[in-house]
Symmetry: C2
Subunit: 129 residues, 2 copies
DNA sequence: GCAAAATACCTCGTATAGCAATGTATATGG
DNA sequence: CCATATACATTGCTATACGAGGTATTTTGC
């Protein structure tokens, strides 16, 4: 019997939409994680998990980082660690910093619009016994 | 010559990530549009465009509405208009109302986490000459 | 009356992107 | 040396938004 590499898609999963919610925000989050200084791949994952509720798999972050590097929004450099595996550190370029500012502004715009749309819903929640 | 039904995918489009940002929020927005009462398909599109910055195509909203109806989060009924084409009105079910409350709460959670992550970026923007 | 326009709902096909599950390389502890 | 830990990388599946069509009904112009 063959190994079932991919789990059966459970369409009834109530968390499906939540996963979708995060899509598109990930590039921005990856850039944002580098705002204060360079980090390496796994460090970015840990940072985002700690700072926000974003949990990224490795198979998610590396394609994103490569994409961003192709767009010259960040650079990478190998750094030999004193101990352990060498690490590839990522840093924002000026273009990356600029783009992140644009993204952040657009995010606030989008976010506030949606929050406003949800206001009646959120208000109703407060009234519940 | 054949009609080019699908436009060439312009990967360099800088707005690509913005489109991604909206993914996953659309189901929630569709449900939210019905919070105050029933609406029909095209009316939902116009409502969301007016209330938030969400612009949905018809090919987007109808699959979403069908998906939500399949999940029993909303119901639909044909209504013969006094004039014009009959309209299919969508209404929230109790389950839909409940789910929307959950979604709204999760959205606030997600949104505030990301906004917090972007705070340093947004602050830097204010300082710019 | 009948073509044209307007309104509304629906469907097909494609590109995109996250992510689970792998693989590879290096260093360290027993 | 083998097992474990750390780190980066890749492959392939899947879900989903959306452009470009289509159909049905009603109203308007002639």
């Amino acid at each position: 019997m063959a190994i079932k590499r991919f789990p059966a898609p459970e369409a009834d999963q109530p968390d499906r939409w939540e996963a979708q919610l995060r899509k598109g925000a990930l590039e921005m989050a990856a850039l944002a994680s580098l705002w204060r200084g360079r980090l390496y791949g796994l460090e970015i994952i840990r940072f985002l998990e700690a700072q926000s509720r974003l949990v990224l798999a490795e198979g998610t972050i590396y394609p994103i980082l490569n994409r961003l590097r192709t767009e010259a929004l960040l650079t990478s450099e190998w750094v030999e660690a004193d101990a352990g595996h060498p690490r590839k550190y990522y840093s924002l370029t000026d273009a990356g910093r600029e783009r992140l500012r644009l993204m952040a502004a657009a995010w606030m715009d989008f976010s506030s619009g949606l929050t406003q749309l949800l206001e009646p819903v959120l208000e109703s929640e407060e009234v519940i016994q």
